[in-house]
């Protein structure tokens, strides 16, 4: 009887030991047996990993195990041997045109006489990130608006491999300051809109992959964030707004001068509904007779003198969304 119990106990201990060792055996099974083979593990790494056409590309032998020690190395690009690259562990070449395929081959002749051929293919693709900040610039201004704190930025990514790639066949992952936006990767999401965060600049990055997960291209751009600026421009009854700003110390020659304050890079929402849009003449708040809060008409009073004109526009919700400027008018 005692012997029988002893036998049961041994069986139970054996079973417990087996159960305890099973997960370890499972983990062991996940190791690739080839990693323990005698074949040296060498690969070609490319930098940048997804080059644009015309980029200077560096191809390196990734040989952490030292398996190619003493090997003779010959490089070729698209079948043509690269001169001066013999036995170099790193070569540089210029990526071909958009959509072309560049085949980089490294032939390794090992001291043992064995030959190993490594190959990688690059397909240069243009990835253009177009930033369209939704801030105010005058109609005549031919430059681009710039983002200011809190304003909305529209961004569009264009992939071109000789022609524009249909965005519906691409999955886009957008990041602002390395934080994924839009909730994650979006198929066909080549356009996004996001608010400008605090700081002097932001880093916008995007990764484009095929629906099966192969990376097509990835890129990051640094976007400068500016403060709104204000300029005064003379408005002529016949010609409209001048595109040359009024001097800070201007002279009124006629009897009437119409000035328009033109905020640059002010959030368009603030521009359309400013909490503060205030003109001061000689430090006295002056009601604006015009329907346009950014416009004021000055009339000469007295023989001559000097007056200061000040304009202030601002949002009270986002106080950095605003600007104030002053000019002096002699008459």
């Amino acid at each position: 009887m005692i012997l029988l119990e002893y036998g049961y106990m041994r069986l139970r201990v054996l079973l417990v030991a087996l159960v305890a060792l099973l997960p370890v055996a499972g983990v062991m099974a996940q190791f690739d047996a080839s990693q323990f083979s005698d074949t040296p593990q060498v690969a070609i790494t490319i930098n940048p990993t997804h080059p644009s056409p015309g980029d200077l590309v560096t191809a390196s032998l990734d040989d952490y195990a030292g398996g190619v020690f003493g090997a003779q190395i010959n490089w070729s690009y698209n079948g043509a041997s690269i001169g001066g690259a013999a036995n170099q562990r790193q070569i540089q070449f210029v990526a071909g045109p958009a959509g072309s395929q560049g085949v980089v081959v490294a032939n390794l002749t090992l001291p043992s006489g064995g030959v190993q051929t490594l190959q990688t293919v690059i397909t240069p693709v243009y990835m253009d990130i177009i930033i369209e900040p939704q801030t105010r610039v005058p109609e005549w201004y031919t430059g681009r608006a710039l983002p200011s704190l809190g304003s909305q930025i529209n961004a569009t990514v264009l992939l071109n491999n000789g022609s524009f790639i249909d965005p519906q066949n691409v999955v886009y992952t957008w990041r602002v300051n390395n934080r994924v936006i839009e909730g994650g990767p979006i198929r066909g999401g080549s356009r996004i809109a996001f608010p400008t965060p605090r700081g002097a600049s932001l880093v916008l990055s995007v990764t484009a992959t095929t629906p099966t997960g192969d990376t097509i291209a990835r890129r990051a751009v640094d976007v400068n964030i500016v403060l709104p600026e204000l300029g005064f421009y003379e408005k002529h009854a016949l010609y409209g707004l001048r595109s040359i700003p009024t001097d800070d110390n201007a002279t009124l020659i006629g009897s009437i001068l119409t000035l328009q304050a033109e905020p640059f890079f002010l959030d368009t929402r603030v521009y359309n509904r400013p909490d503060v849009a205030q003109w001061d003449i000689n430090s006295v708040r002056t009601p604006n007779e015009s329907d346009n809060p950014y416009e004021i008409t000055l009339r000469r009073s007295g023989s001559n003198g000097r007056t200061s004109v000040n304009f202030h526009v601002r949002s009270l919700q986002e106080v950095l969304q605003g600007s104030e400027e002053r000019l002096t008018i002699n008459f």
Partner: protein, 405 residues
């Protein structure tokens, strides 16, 4: 006795005083320089609180002599909204026509005699921009700006000074006239910018191409087929890219950078960008695919390629130091340039000075909207500061000498 003497002396003194008073009253009027009583001499005061009004600068009316033998001539004293050299018939002498800013009136100037005539008296208030077809029959005018902008097609008649016009109810962002007497224009639609061609003689519209973003600058070719060069609006703080559209097909040009703008032809293009903190100019020869640094720094918007040789451009170039923020200050009007006219060969990477307006006329010109006339005989352009129209008789067979920057 003494009392009598005192009385007589007193009366005499009174008489003398009265006489002096009468003399001054009737005869001694102060001379014209008599500012002594009115001039408080504030100009010499050291009191900083005294306001001394600035003397307005004397307005020097520029002399306009369109029939002058000089190759560089000012054609107008008034701001111009648009212009074109037109040839009414195959045998007629070309003339320059311009649209007067503010009124929309259209004038013609005979370049031989200098005679100016108004060909359209129809007033289109607040005219800001315009284009005229080379046959002189149609005009496209922009009135007002921003949301209030209106675009009008006008038909000119040789029998009347009235413009028969109708509006185009579209928010056009840029437009030009082609050598084939049609208009090209761009309109934002959704997230795209659509380029169309309008033929006013048949009243037909044809879509040319679609740009997959809105804030785009289009450097139009003088034909509808192109190539038209398109890039995001330029700023030194954001990256730009250049695309060319030929027969509606887009090509991504191998050019990108901050502060990027470009102007091009079928054979090449000139572009400038900020690189390593410097604003520099490059030229790409599309035949060879080579891109080289230009010998001078150019704002591409100041260039026009000739039509007889698509590798040659004439540019307004200011020999000055450009900041790394270019071209933003120039766009904002904070920077005024004193340009010379240079001819630049993309093929030979060389440049030659044509004329210095300051030396030739004494005027500093900030050249914008350069445009060649028929057979490249004349180059027309405007001065950005006052929008006046100028002409330079261009020699179409230049010889080049290298210029080292």
């Amino acid at each position: 006795m003494q009392r009598t003497v005192f009385i007589i002396a007193g009366i005499a003194i009174v008489c003398v005083l009265v006489g002096v008073w009468v003399y001054f009253l009737f005869f001694a009027t102060p001379a014209e320089d008599g500012g002594v009583f009115a001039n408080f001499n504030l100009g010499n005061t050291t009191d900083p609180s005294v306001i001394i009004p600035a003397e307005p600068e004397p307005v020097v009316e520029p002399v306009v002599d369109v029939a002058s033998p000089e190759r560089l001539r000012q054609l107008t004293t008034q701001p111009v909204a648009g212009f074109a050299e037109v040839q009414l018939t195959a045998s007629s002498t070309p003339e320059i026509r311009y649209i007067e800013a503010g009124t929309g009136h259209i004038y013609a100037i005979d370049l031989t005699t200098g005679v100016e005539a108004r060909v359209s008296a129809t007033t289109i208030p607040l005219t800001r921009a315009g284009a005229l077809t080379p046959n002189g029959q149609f005009a496209l005018l922009q009135s007002g700006s921003g949301l209030g902008a209106e675009f009008v097609i006008g038909a000119l008649s040789p029998d009347s000074d009235q413009l028969r016009n109708f509006a185009i109810p579209q928010p056009i962002t840029s437009f030009v006239a082609t050598a084939n007497n049609t208009f090209l224009y761009a309109v934002p639609e959704g997230n795209q910018l659509v380029a169309r061609e309008y033929d006013p003689s048949t009243n037909t519209v044809q879509e040319l191409f679609r740009v997959p973003f809105r804030d785009a600058t289009v450097q139009w070719h003088h034909t509808a087929a192109g190539p038209h060069y398109v890039y995001p609006h330029t700023t030194s703080r954001l990256e730009g890219y250049v695309y060319s559209y030929l027969d509606g097909v887009a090509t991504r040009e191998p050019t990108s950078g901050y502060g990027l703008s470009a102007v091009g032809s079928s054979d090449g293009y000139i572009f400038s960008r900020v690189q390593n903190g410097e604003y520099n100019t490059f030229a790409t020869n599309k035949t060879t695919g080579e891109t080289n640094s230009a010998p001078l720094t150019i704002i591409p918007e100041k260039c026009a390629f000739t039509r007889t040789d698509a590798t040659v451009a004439v540019c307004g170039i200011a020999l000055t130091d450009y900041s790394h923020l270019m071209p933003d200050p120039w766009y904002q009007g904070q920077m005024r340039l004193d340009d010379d006219l240079w001819v630049y060969s993309v093929d030979e990477q060389s440049a030659r000075l044509l004329v210095s307006p300051e030396n030739a006329t004494g005027r500093q010109l900030d050249i914008v909207h350069p445009q060649f006339g028929i057979n490249d005989a004349n180059l027309y352009f405007q001065n950005k500061v006052d929008q006046t129209l100028w002409v330079y008789e261009y020699n179409p067979t230049p010889t080049f000498t290298s210029v080292t920057q």
